[in-house]
Symmetry: C2
Subunit: 409 residues, 2 copies
């Protein structure tokens, strides 16, 4: 299925406004935006997936409660960076306060607000800057505010992440777009970091949740920067139905089109997150094909993407394929290692490095040329089935260590 | 139980000789030893644990077959560094050849030889240097050859690892000692890297295996340098019985003493391996106590030790305890996160950083002083049981990235 890529990020879909401002949650001489708001003109059906970490950020707990109370309906998102509001005794109180402030400014109910926070864990969230910022955010809301918002959710991210597509359902033009943040502490399980996706395509709450859970599994959950699963992972999908297509309430061709659009948005955001991994110089994309089943393909591709040794070898442009085999070997899945083939590729070419689980001769010069590129693909064929999955990651570099050696300071 | 620490490493026990030489398996201007032999004067009962990686080094496969054939009896070890003899089409042939060469030089059977290799994966092992070296090794065997042997098994290790103790069983003085190698690709599952332990304490093959499996679980398997599980992990325990104690053939006080001695040797070697982790500047010891059961304690302690973000924070001497909580939170075990306490300590002092899952005020100056030391302890109390486990690891540094960015060159 082909989709038209469009501008507009989280505001690409009809009826969604956004804004972002700097409020000083943490001293910041650059005065980069640190709080954002996204609001729909009408009530939205909403689905979410959240971190599986036992330590859950207070905003995650509050958002889940709100959506339970509202029956999956929401109108607004309030989200700050620079402080995760996690492991704080007063965390839920503060997260609820953020919802109340937003609801008041917009004239809606607190349970119709999605709240999210990202940043350092275990430091009390200062509420005063937020009290001041919320009315400003409401004031500034605009149908072209997506960049202000996408910038506000960045932490150690070096670029903002937005993606949007246009597609057709039931003769109506639909749009879907999203913004994401995340750079370190990325090894999602059910969802990663912060991701907000909006669409004007009409979809019922249960089908929205079904689509989100299915696509998260093969996109965000196939991403690993460092193997550390965040406490605040949140992925929200909001549908306001303003495209006026007949609401999708069951499986079928329309639902498949919707899921394909969602894959397009989420896979591209995932790729952006991987490429902007903390300290990364290279995007690594691992495609595991001919696997006995989807789960095996995912497990194998993620195992390679996660291996610190392989990530270091890629930083050094070293075709150390033994480390790929090693990581395939400790993947917790059931398959025959002696049938495995491995190729390495990039826009500079592609070479075979392993056949039937054993090394084959290759030109080190050609390998070096391929691996010096900034986007590397690792092709693994298990040769024992038809399933395929892709995982995204990045190399492990001096800068990852530097960034995380003094994050709090 | 108190044990007397003694010198002698793998030769500390009565009847064990060793040797090591440089044979040039790989070009090496420093001519560091790269092949070692350990031989017992009499036949040994032998137990082993091996990597769980699907990709198994050829020496692992051959050693397992040999011990099956000989019924757990062995007299000699032949082990090389600089090449893992893994993922090679002719790997088993070469590993068998190493056993045949050793058997011929010593006048024993090939199946009485334990063979091991460590180094780069997927490069053909040159056999000629080994053909020349084996007779030299046999010639040089000595009761004080432990250091020559311990040096020969080093790869990126910066120090040799040896440890030995003396204890008493049945009125007889027994000795047990070992040598180990390993610096990167360390995240053992059943055994780590290469470890050879010898004892003159008489123990039957089944009880030897029982003791080894039990102690591996709480020592080597609680070690993580980088989360990468090697293909060649091997841990061997040989008993020649020359201490002349009544052979241990069942559980009881003697077996408990033997296991305590084994813990002493293996825990100390584990600690040495962690401290010499690739690029490490700090040893991290995580003690998880008051857990509902042993497995939970192990899983939680290992989860913290493995977290790249926490490891970077320790490199930067940053008391970023939120990362400890985060790693506890994604540990795959069942417990209540809201009861968890965390303290950080070193020889410079100890501070509380978290109580009941939430942060507590502490002096950043005092924390910095504590974390600037080179041996850091992380104390986690789950406060929901009586089980305890320790895990060992190290910080993640620029040098880890450097070493592994150009390992093959």
């Amino acid at each position: 299925m082909e989709f038209k890529t469009i501008e507009g990020g989280v505001c690409a879909a009809k009826g969604f406004k956004a804004s972002g401002v700097y409020c000083g949650i943490k001293e910041n001489p650059t005065k980069k935006n640190d709080i954002a708001m996204v609001v729909s003109d009408v009530m939205c059906n909403t689905a979410g997936v959240y971190t599986q970490n036992k330590v859950k950020g207070a905003p995650v707990i509050v958002t889940k409660k709100n959506l339970e109370k509202s029956g999956g309906k929401a109108k607004a998102i309030i989200v700050n960076s620079k402080n995760a509001n996690t492991c704080n005794a007063d965390g839920e109180e503060k997260a609820n306060e953020m919802c109340r402030l937003t609801a008041k400014a917009l004239g809606i109910k607190p349970e119709e607000v999605i709240v999210a926070s990202t940043g350092v864990i275990g430091q009390v969230l200062p509420i005063e800057p937020i009290v001041k910022a919320v009315p400003q955010l409401a004031e500034k809301l605009s149908y072209t505010g997506n960049i202000e918002a996408a910038t506000a959710i960045m932490t150690t991210d070096t670029v903002k992440k937005e993606y949007a597509v246009e597609f057709e359902i039931g003769g109506k033009t639909c749009r879907m777009g999203g913004m994401a943040k995340g750079s370190g502490m990325i090894h999602p399980n059910m969802a990663t970091t912060l991701n907000f996706i909006t669409t004007d395509c009409a979809v019922s709450v249960p089908m929205l949740q079904k689509a989100l859970s299915e696509i998260v599994k093969i996109t965000y959950n196939c991403l690993s920067v460092d193997g550390d699963q965040s406490t605040n992972d949140t992925c929200m999908l909001m549908s306001d139905g303003l495209a006026q297509n007949p609401e999708i309430t069951a499986e079928g061709a329309d639902f498949d089109t919707f899921k394909a659009a969602l894959y397009q948005v989420m896979a591209n955001l995932t790729r952006m997150l991987a490429k902007d991994g903390e300290g990364a110089t290279k995007l690594l994309t691992c495609i595991c094909s001919n696997a006995p089943d989807l789960d095996t393909a995912i497990i194998v591709a993620k195992s390679v993407i996660r291996s610190p040794l392989f990530k270091c070898a890629m930083f050094g442009s070293d075709a150390n394929w033994g480390r790929v085999l090693c990581a395939i070997g400790y993947a917790e899945a059931d398959f025959d290692i002696n049938k495995v083939d491995v190729d390495l590729g990039s826009r500079a070419g592609k070479i075979a490095v392993c056949r039937n689980g054993a090394g084959v001769d290759f030109s080190e010069d050609e390998a070096k040329k391929i691996l010096t590129e900034d986007e590397i693909e690792i092709y693994i064929s298990l040769n024992q089935g038809n399933a395929q999955a892709t995982a995204w990651g990045c190399d492990l570099t001096y800068d990852y260590v530097k960034i995380n050696g003094d994050y709090r300071s």
